[in-house]
């Protein structure tokens, strides 16, 4: 009997210590997270029906913010540019990260080459977006930028846009830099996928006399296909609503030529002398609906292929 109670009390103390642990760490963390990152969402939805500067009185305006939003051509440009942003990044990142990953694994370059390229290709991922933005702004500079200098040197002066890359080809210029930053991360994911393919598959293929191309298409690609899909989906997720690079490089461009959805929200809600918080929140909600729809569609399409 005594043993039983002591066992029971031990279990009770154990439960008590769990609850104490939850109260000390887990609950405060959760409360802080909900306060900082979840409660603003409700505020966002609520205030999107008001005319509000962020302070003082809120005037109920119904759907007016949303109606205004769809009257603004710049907002449509922002949506269009975001889609263009995603597609452009996919076109550059997906093939290049596959090629680089294959090159650093299957191509059997020297060890030194492999480790140097691995180091360098991932480097842009760890640099601050401000550093990248400033350096590339100088590369694209219309007066003494490196890119124009390079084009002059190889006799392609005709390609130089008169008003500068970031003015005339705003989105493509941004897309290139964004892809330049992103490739390393996805390449590393693909490299580890390739490295996890069992070596004896290749050995067996060698014995059967299958060439390198054949091995690529019938062993490597099928084995990493899941991770390629992961790359496609994650480029979409990482791009929609992202605006830091677009802001630093062009800050919206001319007439919204470089406007992306996130930047639109930021400019109306925060980066303004007279913020229109309700309006910015309405834009953020529309943005979220559009981007989650796109992400869902892309996810669906990518997973349908599997069956």
């Amino acid at each position: 009997m005594e043993r039983k109670t002591s066992k029971l009390s031990r279990i009770l103390t154990r439960e008590r210590s769990k609850i104490l642990f939850l109260i000390t760490f887990v609950i405060p963390t959760l409360v802080a997270y909900i306060f900082c990152y979840v409660s603003p969402i409700f505020q966002s939805i609520y205030s999107s029906f008001f005319d509000w500067s962020g302070f003082g009185s809120m005037d109920f305006v119904g759907w007016e913010n949303f109606v205004d939003l769809f009257k603004d051509p710049v907002f449509f440009k922002a949506i269009k540019n975001d889609l263009f942003y995603v597609i452009g990044k996919e076109i550059l990142i997906v093939p290049l990260s596959i090629i680089f990953a294959l090159a650093l694994t299957r191509l059997r370059l020297t060890k030194a080459e492999t480790s140097i390229y691995r180091f360098l290709l991932y480097l842009p991922n760890v640099l601050a977006v401000t550093i990248i933005g400033i350096v590339w702004a100088f590369i694209y500079d219309p007066y003494n930028g490196i890119l124009n200098g390079l084009l002059k040197m190889i006799g392609l002066e005709s390609l130089i846009p008169a008003n500068g890359w970031l003015v005339e080809h705003t989105m493509p210029s941004i897309i290139f830099v964004a892809s330049w930053c992103g490739i390393g991360y996805f390449m590393i994911i693909l490299i580890s996928a390739i490295n996890s393919v069992p070596k004896d598959l290749y050995e067996a293929a060698d014995i059967d006399g299958a060439g390198q191309w054949q091995q690529l298409w019938s062993i490597t690609m099928p084995a990493i296909w899941d991770k390629v899909k992961y790359v496609v989906v994650n480029v979409v997720i990482g791009t929609l609503g992202n605006y830091s690079l677009a802001m630093i490089l062009a800050n919206g461009g001319v007439d919204g030529s470089g406007m992306v959805m996130g930047l639109y929200v930021y400019q109306y809600g925060i980066d303004s002398q007279a913020p229109r918080v309700g309006y910015a929140n309405a834009a953020a909600i529309v943005l979220m609906i559009i981007s989650s729809t796109i992400i869902l569609i892309v996810n669906k399409v990518m997973n349908k292929e599997e069956d």
Binding site: Y37, R118, A128, V135, G145, Q212, I248
Partner: protein, 286 residues
């Protein structure tokens, strides 16, 4: 058959050559800007405008003095350091404790909590940014670096928790049973059993957290309006926009190099675990 082999070897050689050129060309777009920024930081303004490509004639070390003192980079640097230290420590504490509970406790709603963190992970930051800013503004909590550090730590919480919980779940049950027999509390089991076991995963979280908080731009830009409280990353963009009026390019690039060096050092030393971490991370998310 033999002919085929030769043909194959030849095409492989050509293929390898083409890929080598592509790799070289692509990485030169990475190496060159970094080197260019580095040597430009030693040029005078005059030299900069005479030829942006050219090497400096004499190393203008004064540019660094200008960036460090006049352009306040010493200040920005300390601010960044403060944000990094606070946000990394906070990240380690809140991530490891919540993950510990998610991995070890058997309460019914623990699963719900895990699902909650999975769900909020998908919320785009821009939906939250504006109302969150005004919430903090109305509480007079803007222009405070600790707020920025807390927000950065909380923002990365869901993804960190999901990675960390996976790690902690894979730990050997026997370790904890032994601690149970000794009558250890959850605090003791967390600190003396779990933390030492998942050190490598915690280290990884710390690394990504260092990079994330040092490089943060949007949160600091939004919450910090007082120039004296800028971090390196925001100070740099401020210096750039200011340099359209009073041009001091050598100083700007010196500031850029100052911002870049800590990251380059961290990256050079910890490249392996960092890239290994992406593999794990990618494994979880994929």
């Amino acid at each position: 058959m033999r002919k085929n082999k030769i043909k194959e070897a030849l095409s492989l050689k050509i293929g390898r050559g083409i890929i080598r050129i592509l790799l070289l060309a692509w990485t030169s777009t990475i190496v060159f800007p970094v080197i260019w920024a580095f040597y430009t930081s030693f040029k005078t303004n005059k030299e900069f405008f005479a030829n942006v490509w050219a090497l400096p004639e004499k190393l203008q070390v004064e540019n660094y003095a200008y960036a460090w003192n006049i352009a306040q980079f010493s200040n920005y640097f300390l601010n960044s350091l403060f944000v990094v230290v606070l946000s990394v420590s906070l990240t380690l504490l809140i991530t490891s404790t919540t993950s510990y509970a998610l991995a070890r406790f058997r309460f019914r709603w623990i699963k719900t909590l895990e699902r909650f963190y999975l769900l909020v992970w998908a919320i785009p930051g821009v939906l939250v940014l504006v109302p969150q800013y005004f919430m903090f503004l109305n509480m007079h909590l803007t222009d405070k670096l600790w707020v920025v550090a807390v927000l950065i730590a909380l923002h990365a919480l869901p993804s960190n928790i999901i990675m960390q919980t996976g790690f902690m779940r894979s730990m050997d049950e026997a370790l904890f049973e032994a601690a149970d027999i000794d009558g250890a509390t959850e605090f003791q089991k967390y600190y003396y059993v779990m933390v030492p076991c998942v050190k490598s995963a915690l280290f990884l979280t710390a690394l990504t957290s260092i990079l994330g908080s040092w490089n943060d731009f949007i949160t600091t830009l939004t919450y910090i309006k007082d120039e004296a409280k800028y971090t390196v990353s925001v100070g740099l963009s401020y210096l750039q926009s200011a340099s359209t009026y009073s041009v001091e390019y050598g100083g700007l690039f010196a500031g850029l190099v100052i911002a870049m060096i800590p990251i380059l050092i961290v990256y050079a030393i910890f490249q392996k675990p960092l890239q290994e971490g992406i593999r794990i991370d990618g494994g979880v998310k994929g």
